[in-house]
């Protein structure tokens, strides 16, 4: 029952999440990251570190985000692992604010 990265990640990719992951579950492309559901051990350590609350346990996904389970499962194995924090994507801070989050919450 893995954890899943949803839409809020797209265009942000703060990657605050990746270093805490004990099994290097995170895989990424140019805009965002995905969790490999086979590797994820459900520890939930990544969840509070994401500043835009993009990560959910699959069983807690709101209905409109449920398709992300499949997207993560499909995408993750095809992309390289991200195990170190990456440089911020351009516009990420603005996007975080637009989504209604800030570094302090």
């Amino acid at each position: 029952m893995p954890f899943v990265v949803t839409d809020n990640c797209t265009g942000c990719r703060f990657t605050d999440c990746v270093e805490v992951c004990p099994v290097s579950c995170f895989h990424g492309d140019d805009d965002r990251v995905y969790i490999d559901p086979v590797a994820c051990i459900d520890c939930a350590a990544c969840v509070p570190l994401c500043p835009v609350q993009a990560i959910y346990e699959d069983l807690d996904l709101p209905e409109e985000k449920e398709h992300w389970t499949e997207v993560n499962a499909e995408k993750a194995p095809t992309l390289p692992k991200i195990i170190k924090k990456q440089p911020l994507l351009e516009g990420a801070e603005e996007r975080m604010e637009a989504l209604g989050f800030s570094r302090d919450n």
Binding site: M1, V20, V23, I41, C43
Partner: protein
């Protein structure tokens, strides 16, 4: 009202190798959150899926908060609230009556490691029951067989520091599902892998860890010693040994070589089910890639030959000189450098001559059959035998006896507590003080009491203070505070405690034992084994004394040991329940079941929590497509698993995660609260047996034959 939020340092109480350092967040006196301490070098701020909502477990509305007395039939779970005074009065009058009529040995504690604290864990009630003169409960549920086997070869070794694994080049995870039952080793293993290490998993089940490894070698349950002996034979006959290390730091090489020669690769292949080429590759790679390390899991011991299996495996590192290197050797229990004064904790000096010892694997038989005197009362704490001990049907039958007075100290109304006459409310970790050792890393961890106990719950320390007063024990020991007990129980003068004070431990939350630097330590590069010869003993001198269980697992007592014969050389004996040893039984029950730890529960703890139950789902029975087809079973079908001891039900999961002839079902599901639709019957230990392995009285949970049949939906 203003919100007052504080953070308090704590430690995971569970019998898990990782012993995570906690940070409790307390808001207005209520436990809000439990997180990992990010500064802890091993546990690094991350808890596992079992404990990551530990605050909710504390605040679970099902907690037992007050003493209760049974009102319905035994096992029905019907109770009414009573006061502590009433509960204690009842215990006193029943126990006094039993002692007068049958003597104190008619009373026995039933307990284990449901809590692992130095104060509230394994030995919490030992001093009390020794003072009372009760029957002594020997508890060898987990790891004792492995440790005795290892001890015979390499003595009380500290072994490899898991933090040194980053230096390893070849890592064998043998009978351990690291990612489910000790996941904080994994980041070190991954780092080693990034440095080029290969990770091999030897396990009958394709576990999560096997999936993430470089190479999974499925093996027939209970045959690992044959594999180890076969590896030795290849290593010796192909000249892959470290001859100089063997000459200087080992004893009995010639005899070992002779024994290993009885295990040529074709024979090993037919015993273990592993292809010959794989056995050859494994032996050659293991010997050729120092520093190589073997992490032995507890499951290595769960069959007839359990102790000798660990013994055989623990000889391998010396054979190839792995101990010369940082990150090379054997990693089992890391308990050796935790300097505890077990005698102060257990008080074996209070045990009377000739005390009776009962191994708790035999609880079912003991409750039903023991005489002279029969068991008339058991006090159950830190354990849930109706789900977790072998042969649960016998245990339920025994606990149902009208004349048996059962006291239980518990957090929840477990399947076992349901049989109690009196239930006493116990505290959870944030509500008590304790200090934790670890059997998976080298850090002491301190647990501060963060919140007041709910209702009238008390820690085990206070429970036994009250019982001591009740029974009229007036020694000054019963008047100590928790902190005074910690001061008395830790051996502050031990060299392993160098630089550690209680004050620092309380302030920082954790402290590493002085067992050498992780990046340079090689505990046995120059031998220095804690064995009679000071060498790694391929032929064991200690074997002459016969089998034994270390006193901490039998209330400090060293009398009445089994003392059965030990083969001085590592050996292989087929499982009790196998075609070789029991041909008729294996015709009737052809499938070998193993019952590993689940991912979501810690044994049976947390199996009553919505989130963990939801993640874990209903009980499953993993079976190979060939076995399923033969029985007309399809994936998802409801099945019954049974033998002459009992049965349980689950949903078939048809995969090639096990080989033909082997099935697996995770343990821990409560009989009353199984997952899915909640209507499955029994739990996996209904089929397990009371038989014990050849060393350390280890259990034989993997040495069990069953049959499986499809049933109409449960």
């Amino acid at each position: 009202m203003t919100n007052v939020t504080t953070t308090v340092r704590g430690a995971c109480p569970q019998d898990c190798p990782d012993t995570c350092a906690f940070i409790y967040t307390v808001e207005d006196g209520k436990l809000k959150d439990v997180k990992g301490d990010p500064d802890h070098p091993v546990t690094r701020g991350r808890l596992c899926t079992k404990l990551n909502d530990f605050a909710a477990h504390h605040n679970n509305p099902d907690r037992i908060l007050y003493p209760m007395k049974r009102t319905g039939p035994k096992g029905s779970g019907e109770f009414k609230r009573i006061s502590w005074d009433e509960a204690l009065e009842e215990i006193k009058s029943r126990w006094t009556g039993i002692i007068d009529e049958f003597g104190p040995q008619a009373i026995m504690p039933v307990h284990y490691l449901g809590h692992q604290g130095v104060l509230n864990g394994l030995t919490a009630g030992d001093a009390f029951f020794n003072r009372l003169g009760s029957t002594i409960a020997e508890k060898t549920f987990c790891g004792v067989g492995r440790e005795i086997g290892t001890h015979l070869s390499i003595g009380g070794s500290t072994g490899v520091d898991p933090e040194s694994l980053v230096h390893s080049k070849y890592i064998i995870l043998w009978a351990v599902n690291t990612l489910s039952s000790g996941s904080h080793h994994w980041p070190f293993i991954e780092e080693a892998r990034r440095n080029g290490a290969k990770v091999v998993v030897i396990d009958p089940l394709k576990s999560r860890t096997a999936v993430q490894s470089d190479w999974h070698i499925p093996i027939r349950p209970g045959t690992d010693a044959a594999l180890a002996l076969g590896m030795m034979n290849i290593i010796i006959s192909e000249g892959l040994t470290d001859a100089e290390y063997i000459a200087q730091h080992t004893e009995g090489f010639e005899e070992l070589a002779e024994r290993a020669a009885e295990y040529p690769v074709d024979k090993v292949s037919s015993i273990t089910g592993i292809p010959e080429a794989d056995i050859l590759t494994l032996a050659r790679e293991y010997a050729g890639n120092n520093p190589s390390v073997i992490r032995q899991g507890v499951a290595i011991e769960r069959h007839r030959n359990g102790g000798q299996t660990a013994r055989a495996i623990s000889c391998l590192p010396a054979l190839i000189g792995a101990w010369r290197h940082v990150g090379g050797g054997n990693l089992g229990l890391t308990l050796a450098p935790f300097a505890l004064d077990w005698d102060a904790m257990c008080r074996p000096d209070w045990i009377k001559e000739g005390a009776r010892v009962i191994n708790l694997h035999n609880l079912g038989s003991a409750l039903n059959e023991l005489s002279d005197p029969p068991l008339k009362s058991v006090m159950i704490y830190n354990i849930n035998p109706v789900v977790q001990s072998p042969n649960t049907e016998m245990i339920k039958k025994g606990l149902s006896r009208e004349d048996l007075f059962v006291v239980s100290s518990e957090l929840f109304l477990t399947d076992t507590a349901a049989y109690a006459d009196i239930i006493l409310p116990a505290t959870m970790q944030a509500e008590q003080t304790d200090v934790m050792f670890s059997w998976g890393h080298f850090y002491w961890t301190y647990n501060h009491k963060a919140v007041e106990a709910p209702g009238e719950a008390i820690p085990n320390t206070e429970l036994f203070r009250r019982l001591a007063e009740l029974m009229g024990f007036d020694e000054p020991e019963w008047k100590r505070t928790d902190e005074e007990m910690i001061r008395d129980y830790l051996d502050w003068d031990s060299p392993f405690m160098e630089g550690i004070t209680l004050e620092d431990l309380q302030k920082n939350g954790y402290a590493k034992v002085a067992a050498g630097d992780k990046d340079t330590r090689t505990p046995h590069a120059e031998g220095n084994f804690d064995t009679p010869s000071g060498k790694c003993e391929f032929k064991s001198n200690l074997a002459a004394d016969g089998t034994f269980v270390p006193p901490p697992f039998r209330a400090g007592y060293n009398g009445q040991q089994l003392a059965g014969y030990i083969d001085p050389l590592p050996g292989y004996t087929p499982p009790f329940e196998s075609p070789e040893s029991a041909p008729e039984l294996s015709e009737k029950f052809p499938l070998n079941i193993i019952s590993p730890k689940s991912h979501g529960f810690l044994n049976s703890q947390y199996a009553n929590e919505f989130k963990q139950l939801r993640r874990e789902g209903e009980p499953i029975v993993i079976m190979n497509p060939a076995d399923a087809k033969q029985r007309g079973i399809e994936d998802g079908d409801a099945v019954s698993v049974f033998n002459d001891r009992g049965s349980f039900t689950g949903a078939a999961k048809v995969t090639d995660d096990t080989m033909k002839g082997v099935i697996a079902s995770f343990h821990g599901h409560w009989q009353k609260k199984t997952g899915g639709n909640g209507s499955h019957k029994g739990s996996v230990n209904a089929v397990s047996s009371e038989r014990m392995a050849n060393l350390g009285s280890a259990p034989t949970y993997s040495d069990i034959l069953v049959e499986v049949t499809k049933i109409s939906a449960v």
